[in-house]
């Protein structure tokens, strides 16, 4: 078994990313979709940090990760506000029933 290195982290990140995508795609509930997005963002952050360590980029990777976290928080706040609004409008948060984009 090889020593844990960059690739290990990348693999973890990849799997996490995939799971996040899976969540986004499969779940009906808008909140669940939001959770999937958080997973994806986390996987991205993991990559940033991993490259920051192994890629000799100094701390810039970590800074980016920080920014992403901040954006994720903002995004979640806005998204949840929207979800609430949707719920008020459609009385549901199931995304498959909300297909107004179609028209």
């Amino acid at each position: 078994m090889v020593q844990v290195g960059l690739n290990h982290f990348l693999i973890v990140s990849a799997i996490l990313f995939s799971l996040g995508i899976f969540g986004i795609v499969t779940r009906k509930n808008a909140v669940m979709v939001l959770m999937g997005i958080e997973l994806v963002l986390n996987s991205a952050n993991l990559n940033f940090v991993a490259f920051a360590k192994y890629g000799n980029f100094g701390l810039s990777g970590q800074i980016a990760a920080l920014f992403v976290i901040i954006l994720a928080a903002a995004e979640t706040a806005i998204a949840l506000a929207i979800v609430l609004n949707i719920y008020k409008t459609f009385s549901t948060v199931n995304v498959d029933e909300i297909d107004n984009l179609k028209e």
Partner: protein, 725 residues
Amino acid sequence: MTEAVLLNISIAILLLPALGFITLILFGKRIPGPQWVGTSLIFLALCISIYVGFGKLAFYAGQNLIMEGRWIQILNVPVLGQVNFDLGIKLDNLTVIMLFVVNLISFLVHLFSMEYMRGDIRFSRYYAYLGIFTFSMLGIVLTHNILMMYIFWELVGISSYLLIGFWFEKKSASDASKKAFLVNRVGDTGMFIGIMILFTNYHTFTFDTIFAQIAAGNLPFHSSAWLTACGIMIFLGAVGKSAQFPLHVWLPDAMEGPTPVSALIHAATMVAAGVYLVARIFVMLTADAMLTIAVIGMITSFIAATIALTQNDIKKVLAYSTVSQLGYMIMALGVGAYSYAFFHLVTHAFFKACLFLGSGSVIHAMHHEQDLRKMGGLRKKMPITYYAFLISTLAISGVPFTSGFLSKDGILAGTLAFGSLTGHWLIPIVAFLVAMMTAFYMFRLVILAFHGEPRDLHKYEHAHESPFVMAMPLVLLSVLSVFFWYGLNPFNPSTGWFLDKWIKTPTTIVPQNMRFDFMKTEAPVAGSLENAKAGEVKTTNAPIAVGAPKVTKQNESETAIVHSEHYMHAMHQAHYPAMALSLLLGGIGILFSFLLYQWKKIDPDKLAESLKPLYKLSLNKWYFDEIYAATFIGGTLAFSKFLAWFDNKVVDGIVNGAATLTRMVSKLGGLFDHVVVDGFVNFTAYLSGFIGIFFRKFQTGKVQTYVVFVVFSVIILLFIFRPFF
């Protein structure tokens, strides 16, 4: 009296009837008394023609006067140089005599018609037609070239068409006029071919120039056969117009026209035009052509005479007698008795016109009854008509002291001489037979109409002598049928001025080896050669401007060289036997008719019964009409029907078939287009629609679906951009 004056006033003779025609056709309905317009103009023409005739015969009897002017001129023709179509008139003795004859008879017919045609709904039109006819006939007589002759020939045809069909309401009249025109056209077509032969070789139509060329040895297409053919072709025109076998069928039918018209056209003038034409081309006829002509004339005279024996319609008898007499003249030309043929033409014109006008007078008196079987005894009611008719009948039967005796005897002598010289004895035999039959049927006519007891009392009661304008022409014409107008010797015309001074047989100009033996001359005739040279010079003269006609004089004595001594001798020898024989046979004929019809010694019906097949043949005119109807007319009509069918079904069928085929191909193409090409297009549309529908499924409006796409796209893009690891 110069020649120019004579020529110019002859043009006036020609144009006066034309003037009458134009005036009457345009303003006829507005002119009161249209008959006076036509009659006075023709009277003027008659006076002038007498003047011309007198001037010509008295001062220029030995010369031909010619005036010509350019009609159509084609310059710079490749190879030929210059081609001229001339208009011209030629005054020779033949012409001036014919001018007089035509004008006189025309005038008398005009006069006669005033009473006869009074009250007809197209009275002015009738006089207009008479005018155009006289004009055309005079044109034939006057012209100096064969094209003009053809032109007037056709015009005569059309005027005869108009006059025969004058009462066109009658089907029979319009049929007859059509038949006359078409049968004439058959002959005319042949004549035109003859003209084409001449023009092709000589590039001119002028008789004298053509004859000069032939005399100089320049034969058509350098072949004597063509010369013969040319003569026969032109003779075909005469066959048509002079009602010769086999084109004689129109003339009896032409009696549907008014009777004065029959007198003018179908007895005296128009039908004589054929004889006149043959006389004009006489010099260029070869022995073969002449023999053909003689045989045709013989057949015609015989057939017509046999038919005339049994006809019951007064005009039909006269019509067939006319055909028979025309056959005589043609036969005379064929046997070389040129002068007697023309002589007979003139005498026949007078007595036949008299006979027709007499029959017109009878018909008029009998209220348009033409059947001989319903007449009889009219002698007492119509003495003037009777005596005029009788004199003419004597003339046509060849009784001495009449003009007919003189001319007929000459012809018989000619045939006899011909028979003795060439061995063609059939011709004189038939000629004498016909003379006998003529005497018989003419007296039959007279006896049935004028002698005996009236058979139709009702009509007889109303019959009356015709008024002056109808009687006067009869008297005049019967007087002209007496011998002393033509010569003082009542038994030998050749010493009279008519034949001695005026009419002479011209020398034929065909090569020696193509003549009858008796027409050969020992040495080439100097005059004709000289004439030939003169003719040649004339054609190369500087072109004459239209409107300034050239007048030439020709010395006739040079051209008028008579037959060889041999022939003259034979002719002289034949004269008295012929006279005796004709007198005998004529007497037998007259006697028979008296036996049959006057004294009733023999019952004609029984005779007819005993000779039934012959009688039927004669009565039905040898079935010529039926045969022609079955063969030529029926054949042409059937062929035209077939061709119309062929055209409609086959030719057009091919076209339509091609169209149908094209349409089928195009349908196939359309089908291909529809199924394959269009199918492909539709398939594409369907496919894109299908794809659209397919992709529409992805366009769900759901964010998640889009995410899926994004993911797949990313995968694909990754594969695309990073393929190598």
